[in-house]
């Protein structure tokens, strides 16, 4: 394939699509599928056929449309009209949706459908800013041609034919993109380190071992935009001088594995993966590695051990993966969402990318919004948005007239943010200053009925269970902390136990080998910081 062939493929797709006035995209994500999206898709197809509308109406399957709590969802895009989303669709509603597309029918806002319509101006959608997920809802995740028709692989073609690897690294550096796995290391600096390190063989790894309970951003990106992830990895491979890439996918995500496998095969058939891509010297092979349920494998050195087929046990750094990674070779390892940022970054340029966000945190972040909220689902927001906007505007506030208590970010590695800090901008530094972290993007809202010590215990049990056992502070410390939290919850604790919990938390944080142990005390320390009275109340109730 040559770069101009992309245009040929795009034109072919557009020639067919151009004639169809309306596109109805049925959400094919896990959440919608489990609430009956497959039947909806069948009903849409049948209705289009029965009413003879195939020439005007295209029915397709899309990636996650975001508002997972109100599925199944169907997105309608029509020429010259604003897009809208139908929610809580069943087979009957699907038939009505199609009937409204008939030329003689009244428009789509006919009374029987209004109860199912969410316009793009709905607060859930209006405050979002889609860069990574821009194509979600528009393209079919399983069709390479669809992605190409929307500009896919054009950024990669331009990079590989017109830029040097060093220029590509610089572009990423100038964009200000930071790692979306949660720690926020500058991506361009990481790329440059791998490029500069001498070595015949180099590797690129996408970390798709999304283990935080309550987080599914990476699953969605892998399921819905597999080609965007692959394109990001290709650009990275070229920029750092790697010939082989691995996609490490969590074992609990079979649909993501299936779609990535299909995408890799399709890209290979078109010559977008393999030897001498676009007739250049650049060759790149991509394989999937499936995890088997170990949270610690999200840590980069543990992940690499797992890719090599061993127990996923982390090791000391340095040497960093950029110096000595997979099989001792220089290795670039980025989160899946980071890679999904790359193609849009190069398509629009570093300046455009950096125009969104705050001074130190550029671009957007995807969050999985869950918990005690009216509207839960997947959102992409500009960095710097306040928590208040996320919770009360996009999330629609707390249902049942309850009061907001805290937002939990970063899962078992993160912390709880109380109501008085709701106006904090969401960026790496601000969240860290509050004792929470950006994390990979899980955002769980707790209302007044939630017990904070119980939430802390929940996460500590998780960490104690997931500790790999290599270093003592984490292996022993997490178990001891969990024991203390149990004691507190059972109202058997004394004030001294709370002091002990605090001291132990700081010790484990300071002395553990890897990120798991270093961050495991965060939920405890942050709830002690903001909700100490709940701990004290449990102690004094017990003593009374």
């Amino acid at each position: 394939m040559q770069p101009h062939d992309l245009q040929t493929i795009a034109s072919k797709v557009q020639a067919v699509r151009g004639k169809q006035r309306t596109r109805l995209m049925c959400c094919g994500s896990t959440a919608c599928l489990s609430s009956g999206a497959e039947a909806v898709r069948t009903a849409l197809d049948q209705a289009v056929k029965a009413q003879g509308l195939a020439a005007d109406v295209h029915v397709g399957t899309s990636g996650c449309l975001g508002l997972c709590g109100r599925g199944p969802l169907v997105r309608r895009e029509a020429d010259g009209e604003p897009a809208l989303t139908y929610h809580d669709v069943d087979a009957e509603v699907a038939a009505q949706i199609v009937a409204a597309e008939a030329p003689s029918a009244p428009d789509v806002t006919a009374p029987d459908l209004t109860a199912h319509i969410l316009p793009e101006t709905h607060p859930f959608f209006a405050r979002q800013h889609k860069v990574v997920l821009a194509l979600n809802g528009t393209i079919d995740p399983e069709h390479l041609e669809d992605y190409i028709a929307h500009g896919g692989y054009a950024a990669f073609a331009r990079v590989v034919t017109t830029m040097s690897p060093a220029e590509a690294c610089d572009e990423v550096k100038r964009s200000g993109l930071r790692g979306r796995g949660g720690a926020g290391f500058p991506t361009g600096i990481k790329w440059r380190a791998v490029l500069d390190h001498p070595g015949e063989r180099k590797f690129v790894i996408a970390n798709g071992d999304e283990g935080d309970p309550g987080a599914y951003m990476d699953r969605t990106v892998m399921e819905d935009l597999p080609h965007q992830v692959i394109e990001g990895m290709l650009i990275a491979g070229y920029a750092v001088g790697a010939q082989q890439g691995y996609l490490y996918v969590r074992g609990e995500y079979p649909l993501a594995v299936k779609r990535l496998e299909k995408a890799i095969r399709a890209a290979g058939r078109q010559g977008l993966l393999g030897a001498n891509i676009f007739g250049t010297d650049f060759s790149f092979k991509l394989d999937i590695r499936i995890g088997a349920g170990a949270f610690v494998c999200g840590e980069e050195t543990a992940l690499m051990a797992s890719v090599e087929g061993s127990r996923g046990v982390p090791r000391m750094r340095p040497p960093y993966p950029a110096q000595s990674g997979l099989w001792g070779c220089p290795t670039l390892i980025n989160n899946v969402e980071t890679f999904a940022n790359i193609a849009p970054l190069f398509a629009g340029g570093a300046e455009k990318f950096a125009s969104v966000g705050t001074e130190k945190s550029k671009g957007t972040k995807i969050f999985a919004l869950a918990g005690k909220l009216s509207q839960t689902g997947l959102i992409e927001v500009p960095m710097g948005i306040t928590l208040r906007e996320i919770v009360f505007t996009i999330g629609g506030g707390i249902p049942d007239g309850k009061a907001f208590k805290a937002a939990q970010t970063g899962g078992p590695s993160g912390g709880c943010i109380p109501a008085e800090h709701l106006d904090t901008p969401v960026d790496y530094e601000s969240l860290r200053a509050l004792g929470a972290i950006m994390g990979s993007g899980g955002l769980i809202v707790l209302d007044e009925t939630s017990s904070m010590p119980d939430v802390a215990r929940f996460f500590m049990e998780f960490c104690a269970d997931e500790s790999c056992g290599k270093c003592v502070p984490c292996r022993v410390g997490t178990v001891q902390m969990h024991g203390l939290l149990d004691k507190i919850m059972q109202q058997r604790a004394t004030p001294a136990d709370i002091e002990k919990l605090q001291r132990l938390g700081e010790l484990v944080k300071r002395t553990s080998l890897c990120g798991l142990g270093q961050s495991a005390p965060n939920p405890v320390l942050s709830t002690l910081r903001y909700f100490r009275h709940e701990y004290d109340a449990l102690v004094s109730e017990g003593q009374a």
Binding site: Y216, E252, R289, A292, R311
Partner: protein, 167 residues
């Protein structure tokens, strides 16, 4: 060494996975995944077989298999109920669902009832937090449950009717 596996036609798919990865030791996770998918669990004989075919020490295969949560060494029950214990499900009461199942069927989470009819397991997060609390009963995703609804649905499945999809 005699093996209960010799001649088992299911070994073909394990062999395919080994061959596909060039019989290299670093494919151990892929091969174990395939083996468990095919047989439902990793028996002693199966672990020995994988070690021999991949030319990897048995201790290493065992070490890797026991490290990862998804591998199981006991056969599953006729029916399985996986309760999601992700954060969103937990704050919406998934813990009560697990407790109710454990009490009703006298089984510990992760285990199988004495009569081998029902396995109850928990998952870290199944990534459908909008449906919390959710569970997977014999492969069907059931959304927005509570303890009573879950017990009813499990009883229906055990009585022989397939699980209904979520509403």
């Amino acid at each position: 060494m005699t093996s209960t596996l010799s001649g088992d036609p299911r070994l073909k798919s394990v062999d395919r996975a080994i061959k596909k990865n060039g019989a290299r030791g670093d494919a151990l996770l892929e091969v174990l995944n395939t083996a468990q998918e095919t047989f439902g669990y990793l028996s002693q004989d199966l672990i020995r077989y994988v070690a021999r075919e991949l030319h990897v020490p048995l201790a290493r295969v065992y070490g890797v298999a026991t490290f990862y949560h998804l591998f199981t060494f006991k056969p599953k029950g006729e029916h399985t109920c996986i309760v999601c214990l992700g954060t969103a499900c937990y704050v919406k009461g998934a813990g009560d669902i697990v407790a109710a199942l454990e009490a009703e069927y006298e089984v510990k989470s992760g285990g199988t009832t004495a009569d081998g009819r029902l396995s109850v397991t928990t998952a870290r997060c199944l990534g459908s937090c909008g449906l919390a609390p959710m569970l997977v009963l014999d492969g069907a995703v059931l959304a927005r449950n509570d303890a009573n609804a879950t017990l009813e649905r499990v009883a229906v499945v055990l009585a022989g009717t397939p699980a209904q999809e979520a509403d």
